[in-house]
Point group: C2
Chain length 235, copies 2
């Protein structure tokens, strides 16, 4: 048994449109309109610490799966395999893993050092408030391996078409001034089919929370149909 | 100031040919003959935990830079920039970083579950005994971004030619039965030019420790010349 331990602490907590876990794209970069903002905490909030970072287009975020922290299972059931087959936790990116460390490749959208350090990312797949414990540049010459064998996750997941009902379109128009990218984000998030892998009831209504909105949808015949986009807590 | 902390502990400690930091390739996969072996510690040493891992060709190792743990600097001088220019620590892969977490993409060479769990990797860039805190599959569809902008590290570093002197060749022949891949590993390690970035004295002799050997070399005119390959501690 191992008694060696290391302590890590957040550089900051990322702000994202994803208030809860349900609906979050299962890998980063699948939803480019999912923007995350990270203010570095002291003593990391100095412009020198991010000098030259802007010359990289993509960065790695190492984070803590804080909602599942301390829980792990030797096997997990990846959504990719229909939620039935079990694979080893180390053959998966499951949050239920020893040490609860996550890894996300995101696009660097901006570095603001006017007042502290604020970083902006595109394509995040993290729940709002996730603790970030490291930021590293992506090194394409070493880390881009297009012909690597990707096991059961060898290709992008299939995508759903996304259609809007009349009520949803009207609500989207109301929300647009405050959240101009909401429609694009809904398209990207629902195209990933966020339903649990084992669920396939065309009549069942699901809700995804994006920013302060509950997005209600159903899925049938490869189409996600958005029924309503309501301010959270209004129903 | 941030008081939130998380504890992490090693899944195991990797065995590699690199007894010390000097000479280690500056990124993984530059030296495919650098083989690492990892025995998982209890309670992770069960075959279920790595089920299906063999279907992936590459894996991420998250590790602790244990030799520099607790030390960080807001700026660092990457070898790539000649060791003079400073960049922010978050724009680098420097070991002197907050939380001391490292990330290596390595090739999965074998999974042995006959007695506990033993994993073998190719292309490691870790010092012998490095604590490994996570193992994740590499997802080419999401993580291979060949056109990403790689800043000051946009391409593979230049390589030196590697020549052997007569004494070194004789010593290599003696070592070969016990370490058949030693010559290939020396070639790969010296081709990376392990000298400190600011050093360029053709007469100066350097020593790299690989397995139990001290490999003595000099560099001039783009050629690394191996002078001797001696059992460590013999000089």
């Amino acid at each position: 048994m191992n008694t060696d331990t290391f302590q890590i602490s957040p550089l900051g907590y990322i702000s994202t449109p994803f208030a809860d876990k349900f609906g979050i794209p299962r890998q980063p970069r699948l939803a480019p309109h999912a923007v995350g903002t990270l203010s570095l905490l002291p003593p990391y909030d100095r412009s020198e610490a991010v000098r030259e970072l802007v010359s990289f287009s993509h960065v790695w975020l190492t984070f803590v799966f804080h909602q599942t922290q301390g829980k792990w299972q030797p096997t997990v059931r990846p959504p990719r395999l229909g939620g039935n087959a079990r694979v080893g936790v180390f053959a998966s990116r499951s949050p239920f893993r020893p040490n609860s460390l996550g890894l996300s490749l995101v696009e660097l959208a901006g570095v603001d050092t006017d007042d502290g350090v604020v970083l902006r990312f595109r394509g995040v797949d993290l729940v709002d408030g996730t603790p970030i414990v490291d930021i590293k540049p992506y090194l394409p010459y070493a880390e881009s391996v297009p012909d690597a064998a990707g096991g059961f996750a060898d290709a992008s997941p299939p995508r759903l078409a996304v259609h809007y009902g009349e009520q949803a379109l009207a609500q989207l128009a109301v929300a647009a001034p405050g959240h101009p990218q909401l429609a694009a984000l809904i398209d990207e998030v629902l195209a990933q089919d966020p339903r649990p892998a084992y669920a396939d009831d065309p009549a069942r209504s699901y809700g995804v929370r994006l920013y302060c909105y509950d997005v209600k949808f159903r899925v049938a015949d490869g189409i996600a149909r958005v029924d309503a986009i309501e301010p959270a807590g209004s129903t």
